[in-house]
Every structure is written in C-alpha cells, then in structure tokens.
C-alpha cells in the first residue's frame, strides 16, 4: 500500500512539473517530456514491434553477462573458500583490478571483442563479477566455525561441509551478492549500448539523444528501471523462500 502510494505520488509530481510547468511557461517543453508523451512514444515503438526487440536484445545481454559472471563468481568463490593457495593467489589480483572503474575499460572491450554482442556481454560480465565474487567469497569465509565443527563431529567430510554447511550458511550473502550484481548489470548495460550498438534500450536512449527526443530517453530509462525492479522482486521472493527460517525469529 505504502509503496503504491509513494509511486503514485512520484508520478503525480512528475505530471505536475511537466504539465503545470508547461502551462505556466516555466519549463521548456523540449526539456521536460510529459507522462503522456512518454506513453505515446512507447505506444509508437510498441506497435511496430521495435520496442519488444530492443527490450529482448538488452535482456538477453544482461542475462548472458550476468549469468556468466554469477557462475564465475560462485565457482571461484567456492574455490577460494576451500583452497587457501587459490585465495592467496587471487586476492591481490582482484584487489588490484577491482578499483578501476569498469567504464574506463569499455573501449578496450570494443577493441578486443568487436562491435557485436560479445563485447557487451563480456563487459557486463566483467563489471558484475567483482562485487559478486567478493560478496560470495566473504559470505563463505564468514561461516560460523562452530557450525563447521558441529557438522565435522557428526561425520561430515570436506565436501559435505561445503555442501551442507558452508553453502546454506552463506546463502543469505550469496543472494545479496546476486542482487547487487544484477542491479549493476542494469546500470552498465546503458554504457555498453551507448557505444557501437544497433539495438537495445541503451541504444534507444542514445538515439533519443541524437534525434533530440527526450520522451524516448525517459521511456528507455523507465523501462530499464522497471526491468531492474522486476528481477529484483523475483530475487527477493526467492530469497524469502530459501531464507524462510530467518523470518520466523
């Protein structure tokens, strides 16, 4: 209820500023598209099927990039958790690369992987990998030693300790890391599609800028936001399901 009310409030504020500002001559119509104009652009693009196509292209890139990075973060996170030499080797490398703003590397991705899909997917994977890996590795590293001891004295092997104790114990951190990574994927897809893309929501926004169509820019941004909250909602629902035991306390 509160959420719905807040959303309605934000929309109303936007409408007020856009329509009201226009009526009073305070706002340059070109700079502040109205909700009506945004819906109109969306309608036009939806009718010729291009909106669905842009959405699909972006979603696929996000899914692939994020999926790759999540798999790598999980795999390496586990490796680092069970094998100390791997941790000692990986940690300094990751600490060195991590603080470099990913966008600084974007041109390199275009050079390495070309203008096609690979560069975008690789860029999203690269950007989202670090925070996810760090979150997952930290979660696995923080597992309560008492729980590991308890399981070991009940006969758990190293494998079983990982599967039956470390993973479930770290699940909350893993889910948080995945949500963080996905948010970041939505964040950087725009940058990836600004450069040398022929489709996608980022491309749509860029097109809006080039042809000076603010309504299209706003629509692209809102769609990305919608996509982000949709998936975040799904992940949160999954989180509530697997972490049922925590909510009961």
């Amino acid at each position: 209820m509160i959420r719905a009310a807040a959303l309605a409030g934000a929309l109303t504020a936007w409408a007020l500023v856009a329509y009201g500002g226009r009526a009073l001559g305070l706002v340059n119509p070109v700079l502040m598209p109205t909700p009506g104009e945004v819906v109109e652009v969306a309608g036009t693009l939806a009718r010729d099927g291009s909106l669905a196509q842009h959405l699909a292209v972006s979603s696929l890139r996000i899914a692939e990039g994020f999926g790759l990075a999540a798999a790598a973060a999980l795999g390496l996170g586990l490796l680092v958790a069970v094998y100390t030499p791997a941790r000692l080797m990986l940690e300094p490398v990751i600490e060195f690369v991590r603080p470099i703003p990913p966008l600084a590397f974007l041109p390199m991705f275009l050079v390495w992987f070309g203008l096609g899909e690979t560069s975008k997917v690789a860029f999203i994977a690269y950007t989202t990998f670090f925070p996810m890996f760090i979150g997952i590795a930290a979660g696995l590293g923080r597992v309560d030693v008492m729980l590991l001891r308890a399981a070991a004295s009940l006969g758990a092997s190293r494998r079983e300790l990982l599967r039956r104790v470390a993973l479930p114990a770290a699940l909350p951190s893993i889910v948080v890391a995945l949500r963080l990574g996905f948010g970041l994927a939505i964040f950087v897809i725009v940058g990836a599609e600004f450069m040398g893309a022929d489709a996608g929501l980022g491309n749509l926004i860029m097109e809006g800028r080039v042809f000076f169509n603010p309504a299209q820019i706003v629509m692209g941004a809102l769609l990305l936001g919608l996509l982000g909250s949709l998936v975040n909602g799904l992940l949160q629902a999954a989180e509530r399901r697997v972490l049922r035991w925590r909510a009961l306390g």
Partner: protein, 264 residues
C-alpha cells in the same frame, strides 16, 4: 556394543598425556592448559569441574579434534586423533544448531550423513526428540526455540548419531531446575543401557555427583588437574542419601579453593 577399543573392555578409551595449550601466535600468550594428563575409561562418565575460564571447553575441543594441543598428545582407542570424527559426538556449550534446518532436520543431520535409510532416520529422530521432550516442536526452526530447548536439540542431535564417546560441554546449563533433573535422570538411564564413554563439563557439583563415575576438579586458569574423585555410589543415585551429600560437600570445599583464587 562396539564400545571397547584395542584396550579391550574397561580399557582407557581416551588418553590425554601432558597436554599444554596456549592460544595466540606461536602459542606465546598465557597458557590455557598446563600439563593435563587424564584417562577416560570405556563406559565411564567423567565430569570436569572447575572455575569459569579454567580451560574445560579448551580440553574438550582438543579431545574433539577441533584444535591441536600446543604440547602433549591425545589418543582415542590407542590412536592419535586426526581431527573430529563421528565416533566422538559433541554437545556444544553454545548449541551450534544449524539455523536453516528444522529441529527434526538438525537431529537427522548425522544419521543422514551416515546413509541411514529414511524410515530408520524417522524412528531415530522421533526417539531422541521424545527423549528430550521436544516432539511437538519437530518442525520449528532454531530461532523459534528458547535457550533450553536449543540445548536439548543439541543433545538429541549428538546422541542420535550414536557416538560411542560423547563430549558434553555444560549440556544442561540453560535448563530450568526441573528439566535439568529430568535430563540428568535420562542421561544416567541411557548410560546404564548404552555404556557410552562420556566427558561431561558442568558447574554444578550436585549434577557431577549425581552423574559421574569420576570427577576431575581443575585449578583456576591456567587449568591443571587439581583433584580426582571416584564416586562410589550405586548406579541409581539418591540425591538425598548421606553418602551423596558427603561427596557434595567434600568436592564443594575443593572447588571453592579454586574459585576463591580467581576472585583474589
């Protein structure tokens, strides 16, 4: 029963020889244990008594195989211990229940690892939950339990795995007086039937006299063995018998000396 090790029935199952333990880098900090030597005989219930911080949990952790001694050695059935193992069950002072598993799943954890078939596991879980009086709470999660209930789950979980040696760290510490006596009776009943080898840490001298075959009193930190009492009382003990009270006051006197040192 498969209790007796190479030593044969009645032999020492746990041999603690000259164990020192110091924590910190290179074990340089103040020691927690100094030259502790003890033997726990097969089918014996040995109680550890001593002031808080004297190293009881530390000693138990060493026997469990969680931490190595700084010096000295510990053997179980004649073999040096290499880490934890299911033949040495542990009831932790802090319970250490798996929070993402229900009460029943916690109790089932060991048997499941051992590959016990599902039908048999259900029996085991039902039996031990009944024993600790938690049958109605089988589907709850640990966060939904009181401290005393968690403690009973921890006991059920350890016993359901049928270890021949049980290391219990103040297992009844969080229980109310009535439940505590019921649990003491239950443990002594199990002991009469199953003849496990038990090391039992407690602060309650009454509890120790009620349960123990022998009581080891430790000195205040750093912990050493101060005194060992063999309790020659019938198996079914009467807390009000004159003999019982005599042991109680004698041991109380020895323990008090140590507690007084801590407070000096």
């Amino acid at each position: 029963m498969t209790m007796a090790g190479p030593g044969g029935a009645g032999g020492a199952r746990v041999q603690i020889e000259g164990v020192h333990k110091a924590f910190g880098l290179d074990g340089r900090s103040t020691p927690a244990l100094i030259d502790v030597s003890l033997e726990v005989q097969a089918a014996e219930l040995l109680c550890l008594l001593g002031p808080s911080g004297c190293g009881k949990s530390t000693l138990l952790n060493i026997v469990a195989g969680f931490i190595p001694p700084t010096r000295g050695r510990v053997r179980v059935d004649g073999a040096p211990i290499a880490g934890p193992g299911p033949e040495r069950g542990v009831v932790f002072q802090e319970y250490a229940l798996f929070p993402w598993l229900t009460v029943a799943q916690n109790v089932e954890f060991g048997p499941r690892l051992m590959g016990v078939p599902a039908a048999r596991r259900r029996e085991v879980v039902a039996r031990y939950l009944d024993m600790v009086g938690l049958s109605e709470h089988a589907t709850k999660f640990p966060v939904q339990l009181s401290g005393g209930m968690k403690q009973r789950v921890a006991i059920a979980r350890a016993l359901a795995n049928n270890p021949s040696i049980v290391l219990m760290d103040e297992p009844f510490g969080a229980l109310d007086a009535q439940t505590r006596e019921v649990m003491q009776e239950e443990l002594s009943r199990i002991q009469r039937v199953e003849h496990k080898t038990i090391v039992f840490v407690t602060h309650s001298i009454r509890e120790a006299v009620y349960l123990a075959d022998r009581i080891v009193v430790m000195t205040s930190s750093p912990g050493r063995v101060k005194d060992v009492f063999t309790i020659k009382l019938p198996e079914a003990r009467d807390r009000f018998a004159a003999e019982f009270t005599r042991y109680e006051s004698e041991i109380t006197r020895v323990v008090k000396e140590e507690v007084a040192k801590v407070r000096e």
